[in-house]
Symmetry: C3
Subunit: 316 residues, 3 copies
Amino acid sequence: MKQFTSVHDIQNVEALIADGIALKNNPYQYKELGAEKTLGLVFFNSSLRTRLSTQKAAHHLGMQVIVLNVGTDGWALELQDGAVMNGASVEHIKDAAAVMGLYCDIIGVRNFPTLRDRDADYAEDLQKQFIQHCKVPFVSLESATLHPLQSLADMMTIAENATKKKPKIVLTWAPHVKPLPQAVPNSFAEWALRCGHDLTITHPGGYDLKESFTKGAIIEHDQDKALKNADFVYVKNWSSYDDYGNTIGGHDDWMVNAEKMALTNNAFAMHCLPVRRNVVMTDAVLDSNRSLVLAQATNRVFAAQIVLQKMLESNF
Amino acid sequence: MKQFTSVHDIQNVEALIADGIALKNNPYQYKELGAEKTLGLVFFNSSLRTRLSTQKAAHHLGMQVIVLNVGTDGWALELQDGAVMNGASVEHIKDAAAVMGLYCDIIGVRNFPTLRDRDADYAEDLQKQFIQHCKVPFVSLESATLHPLQSLADMMTIAENATKKKPKIVLTWAPHVKPLPQAVPNSFAEWALRCGHDLTITHPGGYDLKESFTKGAIIEHDQDKALKNADFVYVKNWSSYDDYGNTIGGHDDWMVNAEKMALTNNAFAMHCLPVRRNVVMTDAVLDSNRSLVLAQATNRVFAAQIVLQKMLESNF
Amino acid sequence: MKQFTSVHDIQNVEALIADGIALKNNPYQYKELGAEKTLGLVFFNSSLRTRLSTQKAAHHLGMQVIVLNVGTDGWALELQDGAVMNGASVEHIKDAAAVMGLYCDIIGVRNFPTLRDRDADYAEDLQKQFIQHCKVPFVSLESATLHPLQSLADMMTIAENATKKKPKIVLTWAPHVKPLPQAVPNSFAEWALRCGHDLTITHPGGYDLKESFTKGAIIEHDQDKALKNADFVYVKNWSSYDDYGNTIGGHDDWMVNAEKMALTNNAFAMHCLPVRRNVVMTDAVLDSNRSLVLAQATNRVFAAQIVLQKMLESNF
């Protein structure tokens, strides 16, 4: 595997999920594989779970990890080809990515969207240029539009808990206090559909996701109706794609609570964390024995590990 | 050992001190003990000695270390149970600590007091909730009210240098330019008393420490009188407990200088560092051959190491 | 080797360059040498290449690395001996360096000049005091006036690419948008001269470097004339030494482009990175097959590694 930026980089998703789950029996079984290899983690934006779980995965594989926090170091990159760099940018991504690739055997990058310029965000220019110039295997640690390591962990969690072949999964929009990226729901949708799950997406009007990620899912604007017979309820806020980066306000009644979970088929509740309790979901849902949020967080380690492992095994 | 938050977590303090000192002969003798174990260090406040000495201790034990700087990453935690999280907090401590516990085998946390709300600071709510929710062994890297790793290092230093069974130790308040926590003196007092040392605490009026930490010590408001016959002089500024977090001003004559040290029994001078030279203590005292400040700093490594080792040995 | 702060710390420069290049065949050949050794990296200023390449070098040698970012942690050091520390400084360099030396086997420090007080910058007081008080081997990661690890990497790159014994090397000033230190050109000049290269330095009037670094080089104010017959062109901006830290403005025509490179003996183009493209040098020069900028960046790892290795081998 040379890059992991979306489900489209994977040929056999079911095998990847199964291999990731199998690692949990003996996390250090491949600890010689990463000897003398360096993983570089570049954070343009802050990170808790991704940072820690990816470092842990690298430790399991015996890799060295170098972390670069771009935000706090104020390392402004130029993305425009041919730019006369007489402004704020101190280095061109061409040079920065090329140098990182000289020092690291695998590179992971996190970069959030601006939520202002939709075309620029969805072009994923920073990621594409990083991949082009670093020349080593590349792992997305969440990009402007997708969060594939989260989605892989989510699919592993569903696989471990599903009691039927084609469970009904509901991805529901939920309220929040500020505009959030569409990366997690975009990514969840395309992974769930690729896994062949029965996916329903529910949200208020104005919050449609980009169609290319959701094609094949049922879109249902009545949340109660959507939740009927659900086996898994994936809760997540996102800002508008159409009215890009904005939120319409209101819709507090979309918070997922025990009454709403009672409409389901005793469904599991999922969220990628961090979650604003009693805004997005109630304490009762998060702390119930049907909550999978910590199982998802655990699987973040093994999702990262199986991806790194496949990259190490392919000898680049 | 499941937690190390104060002297009350230790059954046999003398044995712990002796075991810590014994590590110095061969720091890497237990380097297999921490193989495949991860130590998570969470800094809500800045740190030099604690950060470096704890990392070094973990290296001695063969552990992997993951560091999270909360301050610079702006990770605001909610502590209130049942809170509707529509404000500044992005994650509840319940979830944050639980996730950290999934990724780490031992967790260390540093959090300073507000110095504004005494009841809140002394309730040690952040630490208690972290311990409750992370579910793995927990080491205080200095909390709102105590600094047990510093105190253990201090007791090791006293044990290595004492020439009598029950040395006279004087903990003296000293001037400073801004209000400081009571964590170091609170902690030093309860460890020295538990060790059975002859402890005198001296400070200007208005700087009494909380009685529960100092019960058994002699409180003497005349610094010169207190210093008489001292074998060890521990110098430290702290802000007022009664007029919480404030400083009264003045008292520059409480700076510890060579004249004051001359009142003692050729005492050793101690300070936890960092120290503002010629405000708290003079150069002459800090640079004399009776200064133990670097010996204390050295022992920070082995204090951390013996605590981590006891946790690793107890197999959690 | 006890310290690496300039070319004057090296007895046999040619041998050091050759040994550094030889490491590239098998970077991990000395991976047992640094076992149980800790490298402390202290960054008073930001760093990408130096941070990553030095960490990578340490990994090659099996050393543990501890990184301290002084800037973001706000750790203001007092340098004045005997100071009454009632101001902004929280710790004296005496104590800070001594403690770092207790925890680390080798220490590297990066500190930039103020560009305001020339005497203070050129006194290299912070570096000298760090060396005096830390008492362990010391590596400059770029100081106020020199960048010896960069220069060593540059000399390795020249050695690998030169086709004659005494190549003509031109160090040319180039435009920039803000005042930069003289550390890289000072250091490059003294290393190139020590290696016996034929060195010409060209810059507009007012940008003379301090003579002690350039004695033996030809100084030529006509850039075109200087470039004639050059085998290597090292491009770098620097601010004025005479009108200290200032820039005169203008001189945009000093940017190195393809037309200027055509005046040379098909010279290689060099720059230490980061580079502002199309201000300092054009894309055409940086992206040509005569550009050595990535080769220089690669050699940063092995320059750091050979220095650390010599320190480890000398058993301190």
